[in-house]
Symmetry: D2
């Protein structure tokens, strides 16, 4: 029958993708579905695209969750701290897709979110779940915080170049473009079709809470503190994310040096492809892949690294399942789509 | 009756917008429409949205153009050099919406386009037509090269801050997002709906020919040479352009300092608005306006400047008419829409 | 100075378009702007695309409206009955863009909306404002109910053919496709980008309240009762509406007969074009035009009529201004755009 | 290793989807990939979203195809007749996704396509591959012509109601809405993003070649000849198809009668769902499902049936694999996605 899985927040976009992936996973079985305002309704009311739509959504209350092997939390910011800790205490492996356990320190959490962490003593117990950079820590782990979508795409682009000393720690600029599903299913006026289609905009300029997470990830990767500039943008599309990252070269380097460093870093990572042309987000929609390339701008002695992912898969649900595979000793790729769906 | 106008390249997107603006202009009258492959067909075949669709498209041949007061050239790169020079020699005021006469020197042209300029001696006679930065040179001018769309949005964002010494010359990074109409009406596989919708991508990374033009414009504005990093992106939308520009602060400055410098620079420019929140491209679709804002990122001591335009109006046809107004001694705003059309 | 105008419901999509049109109108001047939840805020907060954004939105309360010549009501269903009647009693010409006064009888209103009309005795005083079909009644009228968007596109397509006896009264099928702006600016989950983009759906199947209005309009046009089938669909686009209408031929007829009847009917109507190919909605976005064509399907002896409009202009704000022009003895086209904006 | 498969036309949209499905299929293995203009290039050049992108595209020439068990032809109209016949003569099971073998008679082919069929004697050997209506003929079949996307959606909607005598043969009206991928990957000006986004249009009015195919399918299903009106429309979206079908009721019937007839007809069809609300195309994007509902319009005594599919899966590649499963004695659902991908 396989390992039993609970999915809380199953009515949202990321939660629905976890359900879809687990339903198709050879080693996991859905044992429990939780939701907040949709509790008591069938899964199909929230996700008419999914089979088994007659399954009832129960509560997000951790006490209602039966004894399962793994719990996925796809809850809003702030809602997974207590729930995740409670489930973990019961010996359930927890993958938090939310943001509550991503930071390494309470201070960084406060900087990002503006409030004290509710359970600061818990933070060291959670592993930051980006397999391509921190795989060893994830094998057999009990508590994993899956990275945000922006950090995933940016860290994959920059970490190997920083580690190799190819780019400087200071002067990094990240401009990231996200499909609307990254904002979730919330009913907000700025997410109406009339406010999104045929338009682009920056938001969270200088203040987005994924910036401290990216800095943390890069510091974990290269061992040195840094400060970077991050500007996210909302795109008139459902899915997909492109991070265009630039940084001063730290030493003389060619494009081949950059591509070589990326290829070497991801030689053992089946979900990362390094290519020779600018990747398009549609190539990875429906896939758990990240596709990267890099350029050298000789005139300014800068590196430009481009990184695309599907924000709901490699940026959320897919990465969470990838982490769960590692936590449970399974093959990293089990149950995860490599192919995208295009057009 | 007004001043008589010829429009060459009238079958393209920018050309069609010039026709629309001139048809609604109180002081100009369309006297001649030229086209290339569509020559001999009615205007309505190319532009079913326009009135007077029964008017015939004649040739783009400059010898076929009657004695007019002003000629607008909306031709592909390389096609306006000889035509523009020929028309100018006949005493016709020429506004070139194309790229042939934008560069100040033959060397810069060669750097941008990879070929020698066909008429290098002509270059000094052409004024770079960005009214908000170079208005004085445009009043009464005979030959004007209207800037490209990317340069327009980026120069409006950065020039005042450079002039005021608020940002550094080195370290400027421009990430620009453009609607598809910026690529014109060409039949290219990468412009098919199936290749554009629900996707974003960077292109021309480190090599886009608007980068030298932006550098030239900033050098004209601040008097000092500089090198910058420019990465354009294609958006799944018809119109609109957002440039997200960052640069190291050159001295201690607050957000109010940046906004103040921008507001002061554009106090006499009716088509530029400086606001306090991130502008959205849809706010200016259908309008000749540019909308700007700026932020200070204190942690990295950087300025972030956001600038939106309609790439076909302020980035092409609208700006050309604005230039023509100044060339003919008319009010800069005559016949130009300030209001956008939303949603 | 021109005639003074009040616009209630100015914060919505249709209301904003009325503001834009009146600001550009040679004979009208905005004297008052009313709003509901946005009252007290500046116009620019609701419509960042409009000039004069610093003008304050006042109340929708009719008693707050000063002595104006014309009032436009762009209010939700049910909100204009009392307001419209109150303003009309003060001698103000009223154009109701909403649905409260469109029906000819209280019975038809009840059928469409499921509730009794609040002021049934008022109904006969209101003229149904589709100038191309009922122009004579509109000249000098005091109270006009502008048609809905679906009825506008369908009535223009079918009325002349019914009047000429070319199509049968029974067996009419209308499939209509609308951009999302037709649903207004309401915060509804089914109008989120995530629920609209890359998808189409029918809604209101057999029950949409515009069906009785279309039947009424056709009965007014041809003098005979009829029943038709109407199915509206929501499109992944901002603006534009296409009605694909079919009906059994009532007598032997060719395509030329149908096109001839349409051309004859609209010979004096500057905003209706009859063409020979299927019209596209984008051709009329930004325009007050309707574009029609018709076909004969010989095998089934049916007529197929296609009709496109901009749902916010010819389907709402533009038509309202067209009506106001006629009510005030002005030229029907004054202040109204014929050109569309494309792409 | 499984059954060996050749896929001709692998560089197109439908061909790419066949590759993706077969690569994930437990019983089939890709043994040969053919292409026309892309022959000699790697699969990844045409389909960067697919794994195994280094596999070379060979020729579409049937003589180049090795001994395989099944061949899928995803070729343009007219290109599969000779190829399909040649492969079949070699004992290879052939599924033609193209249109060459769909018609039952040479006369119907001529009516639809305007030219004589190149191999009229072959036609009787090919089975029309809509499993939900003609499953018995497909089990073990050697030559199958998979239906077009429009016919698939319309036939599923109407055939059971016709068979049950619930709707009349005459008076059927089908309005169908298709995503752009239905037009394939051809380089056509009317398929540019600038010509498709933010617009809808009808095309092929009264003349579309899927109309005779729909009539044929309904005649096969109900045994009586009929003539219907079919109007296809192009939607600003990549994938998805909605057919809105209406027909006079042939006898007194309620909505429950219609839904009951549909549910009974598809009780054994795992890929058809009959629901109680209007289906949305996005619910089936990425899925091989069709979702249907039906209404009775009491006033006009009509049935309205709504039917959505993914035009590239149930309307092309998915259905072809479904047919191949049946041809090879496999479970109908093998290797086919039931879940859609949303948003």
């Amino acid at each position: 029958m396989g390992l039993r899985v609970a999915i809380l927040g199953a009515s949202g976009y990321a939660g629905g993708e976890v359900v879809r992936l687990i339903d198709g996973h050879p080693s996991f079985t859905v044992a429990y579905l939780g939701a907040h305002s949709q509790a008591g309704r069938p899964l199909g009311a929230a996700h008419p695209q999914l089979s088994g739509g007659e399954r009832l959504l129960a509560s997000n209350d951790p006490e209602a969750v039966p004894a399962v092997d793994v719990a996925f939390l796809a809850l809003p910011h702030g809602a997974s701290a207590l729930t995740g800790a409670a489930l973990a205490r019961r010996g359930i492996k927890v993958v938090d897709i939310g943001s509550d356990f991503r930071m390494d320190t309470a201070a960084r959490y406060q900087e990002a979110y503006g409030t004290p962490h509710p359970l600061p003593d818990e933070l060291p117990a959670w592993v930051y779940g980006l397999p391509e950079l921190f795989r060893a820590r994830l094998v057999g782990a009990e508590r994993v915080a899956a990275p945000g979508c922006y950090p995933t795409s940016a860290l994959l682009a920059l970490a190997p170049l920083l580690r190799q000393g190819l780019i400087a720690e200071q002067g990094i600029v990240i401009n990231a473009l996200s499909g609307v599903s990254g904002a979730g299913r919330t009913l907000r006026e700025d997410l109406l079709f009339g406010a999104v289609a045929e338009s682009v905009r920056a938001y969270g300029v200088t203040t987005h809470r994924h910036r401290p997470e990216i800095e943390m990830g890069l510091e974990l990767a290269c061992g040195r503190p840094l400060r970077l500039l991050f500007t996210p943008h909302l795109m008139p599309m459902q899915r997909g994310m492109l991070s265009t990252c630039s940084a001063p070269l730290a030493r003389e380097a060619t494009r081949a040096d950059l591509l070589g460093a990326l290829r070497e870093a991801y030689a053992g990572s089946p979900f990362v492809s390094v290519i020779d042309e600018p990747p398009q987000t549609r190539w990875v929609v429906g896939s758990n892949r990240a596709v990267l390339t890099a350029y050298v701008d000789a005139r300014t002695q800068s590196a430009v690294v481009l990184s695309v992912i599907d924000n709901l898969l490699k940026g959320a649900a897919g990465q969470a399942v990838q982490c769960a595979n590692l936590m449970c000793g399974l093959d990293e790729t089990e149950g995860l789509p490599w192919n995208g769906i295009m057009p």
